[in-house]
Symmetry: D2
Subunit: 293 residues, 4 copies
Amino acid sequence: MTGTIGFVGLGAMGRGMADSLLRAGHVVRVWNRSPEPVAALAARGAEPAGTLAEVFAADTVVSMLADDETVERLVLDRALLAGAAATLHVNMATVSLALAGRAEAAHAEHGIGYVAAPVLGRPPVAAAGQLNILAAGEPALLARAEPLFAAMGQRTWHFGDRPRQANTAKIGANFLLACAIESMAEACSLAEANGVRPTDLIELLTATLFPGPVYTGYGAMVAERRYEPAGFRLPLGLKDVGLALDAGAASTVPLPFGGVLRDAFLDALAHGDGDKDWAAVAAVARRRAGLPD
Amino acid sequence: MTGTIGFVGLGAMGRGMADSLLRAGHVVRVWNRSPEPVAALAARGAEPAGTLAEVFAADTVVSMLADDETVERLVLDRALLAGAAATLHVNMATVSLALAGRAEAAHAEHGIGYVAAPVLGRPPVAAAGQLNILAAGEPALLARAEPLFAAMGQRTWHFGDRPRQANTAKIGANFLLACAIESMAEACSLAEANGVRPTDLIELLTATLFPGPVYTGYGAMVAERRYEPAGFRLPLGLKDVGLALDAGAASTVPLPFGGVLRDAFLDALAHGDGDKDWAAVAAVARRRAGLPD
Amino acid sequence: MTGTIGFVGLGAMGRGMADSLLRAGHVVRVWNRSPEPVAALAARGAEPAGTLAEVFAADTVVSMLADDETVERLVLDRALLAGAAATLHVNMATVSLALAGRAEAAHAEHGIGYVAAPVLGRPPVAAAGQLNILAAGEPALLARAEPLFAAMGQRTWHFGDRPRQANTAKIGANFLLACAIESMAEACSLAEANGVRPTDLIELLTATLFPGPVYTGYGAMVAERRYEPAGFRLPLGLKDVGLALDAGAASTVPLPFGGVLRDAFLDALAHGDGDKDWAAVAAVARRRAGLPD
Amino acid sequence: MTGTIGFVGLGAMGRGMADSLLRAGHVVRVWNRSPEPVAALAARGAEPAGTLAEVFAADTVVSMLADDETVERLVLDRALLAGAAATLHVNMATVSLALAGRAEAAHAEHGIGYVAAPVLGRPPVAAAGQLNILAAGEPALLARAEPLFAAMGQRTWHFGDRPRQANTAKIGANFLLACAIESMAEACSLAEANGVRPTDLIELLTATLFPGPVYTGYGAMVAERRYEPAGFRLPLGLKDVGLALDAGAASTVPLPFGGVLRDAFLDALAHGDGDKDWAAVAAVARRRAGLPD
């Protein structure tokens, strides 16, 4: 058992993950920008932390923050890292490869072990401790993190000894998600314009070639034009496509589907769909074809 | 039970389908351009037909031909249809919407019922009588065809009372297949260029977000760069993408993923991969990124 | 001087071209589907022909028809060619490479010389005898045609001894035109969304990097959103992009800009802009960006 | 006449621009990261500056730096701006709209007038004082800058009173340049694959539809596959396409041609063409089509 675990970022995902750690018997010290989630976790046995420095006084820190900017501002702070007693930071956010590199370097500079462990799964899955965890980092550090992963996830997937490898896998997974949605959007528009009910097409596909949660869940949303409430907001989808495109640019990997996705998401934003689920990219395919909203 | 069933086209798919009809107790009269499959089916109890006219003397005709051109030449022949005794033709080929329209009109002109019933499934599935059958046409005609579908398939999916609706669904399904392959091709190139083994990425994805035969089967081919032997040859894939693009053009449905697919398949053909599986489109993604063959 | 020249197709372009031949002193026998242009040319000294056979009784035939379908139906008629006295047919239409090949073969079969000579220039340029003529065919045939070209055009450009080479050049030129329009459409949307007047951007560009009729003329239409009256209707633009894409498909040349153009033109048609100038593709770029019509 | 002009950035462009100011009789104080160009300009009458602070002690500062990063590091330095006596900074670099916004804000904060004035023209044009200058900023500031523009350019184009408007126009111009090159690359591949010499096609086009320096100059490079020496290096082209895509992303303007360009440039970089002219994007089009290098 590790000692106290610091936990940063109690958003929709993080609160369930921290709670999973508590349920597994870990001592968890939590910090969040807004105080409510801290209080809620404290009521369940967590230690509330008033500052990030208190969190980084723990032996191991887990963070689950929203994006590059937040990670950079909060946990790549030089003073914070310089003063940290922590010897392991497990960053579970979905971040860019560029940030992954800077984070690795910053932690190395301050002698803090650094592991990347982004996840697959929505908030209910996080709350149930059933995430899929994509992990990369030095083997010894991963071994230290494994009990935490076991508490938060159903399975840990290893991608190598460099943190950025896990971020790459996560970016690739999200890219495939976006591609699946767009391909269903185009196919459903083609179907409808030719007299086939999109729901009939999706029912066929998910019962045969494309079982599983993505085609079933997003397929229904696309076919039924049901984009609210948002399970995953469209601007986040655009951000994730951007992570793939940026990773491609830095490694000279053209991603023609990625370019199409980018344009489709921008088109959706330009038409006011920024608060809808990223399945609303289907409305773009419909509009291009002159189909009614 | 219907009377004698004429069957045209004993290719890799058609021979299994005709055999399924035989096994179900139907009297089947078979014709094929080359004689060997006719003899093989005759040995299993089919009646060999020397001419297409003999086939169209049967009450019901099923055809399973390669493409538009073959369908047009063989079974849309005016003299053949004018002299036919058949009152129902079940066309199970994957054809264009334009051909679907011409076929419907030609049969109507000659008072022959016409149903479109393309299928999902490879030759072993056809041989086992376990196809998924996508059917459209007048309800009374579909009812007549249902015993045949029951013999050849595990399930019949209905898309409407106009034959072209079934062709639309089939084109949509193949379009999604091609999109899935290309998206994995791009994601695997991105992964490899950033130090992640494509097989690791595919293993993660197929165990979580993307179960099912398409991501599992093609994912392995893409990740392992195993494009031979061809289960479905690349030029056929280009043809199917072309069916989608043509359908989109005729119904003013832009298909930006379709345009990317078209270019990728052409690129593969330009590099001599015409005899490989359409998963070889992954080699295009790799080449674009400067990754080794 | 050649003998009587048969002329088929007195549309907006053809009438000016036939008139140019008359002005140069040629004896011209004219045919058109509708009679009015025949009468008008006859009033200027042309011989009216009642049938295509009368035209093909002339030594040399020039045709200027709308598209593949019209060329195939009218002048690739086997009976017409078999009965023709003509020894040279100069086909000045913009046709597909596939048709170019069939036309060359059909004429060869009947011992008629065949030259392709599509043109650059709008109707007023045709009327003034100032076209640019893109010619290909056997040198001896081109030499025979040169006096006709001299009457109709300001300059003849030679692309080789196979007719399809001239058609290729014409398809390439139209492709570049469409690309220029789309690129200005995108740039003007980007400008406007960022507070720059499109007219200011186009004024800069045409005065510096991009002089000439295309950027000046279409640039003004794009920047001012002036798509009517149509100088060149949008469906014709889609047809021309299709000729490029089909030529690319047949020769395994991916054309990613072509795919984008195709989708943009379809989008325009889906929104009812089929009677507007192909510069209306700019409305698609604006709509994608959420800019007002 | 303004007082002393500080000038930052004596690269291939900047040295010609500073020299133009000298020739027009201005007192110019110059700074550059490497000392050689400073010495060269000093030999022609400029005052060498040892620090950026000396430059910003001048009443008016002109800067011509390579990219966002350099601009941000050198001239958006808070200490530099806080200590500056300068009341006008004319930034002539090609930068992102995001940087343009930050620069405007930073100068406003320190009470320094800020004008954006990127240019069209290569180094010889800069040396001749014949640039086209794209200017935006407050009218009174532009009026102060006009004598400098008159010395460096043949004409000043005004895009509004917000600096970022000039940057937008410059980004739009470069985007159109890249589009023109790619469209010629695709058309020339199509031509060659169909038996037409690319040089013949380009000769036709530049003599008719597309006169002017871009089609003539880049057309020859594309058609002749002459990508060296680089007039404008390919990575700079990718950077400029990126500026357009980023501007589009921030203003929700999809740029499908931009996505294609991005992929083509990445493909070129992946194949080692980073030191070649951006016309080397034509090698990508050729490779996609299987044409020889």
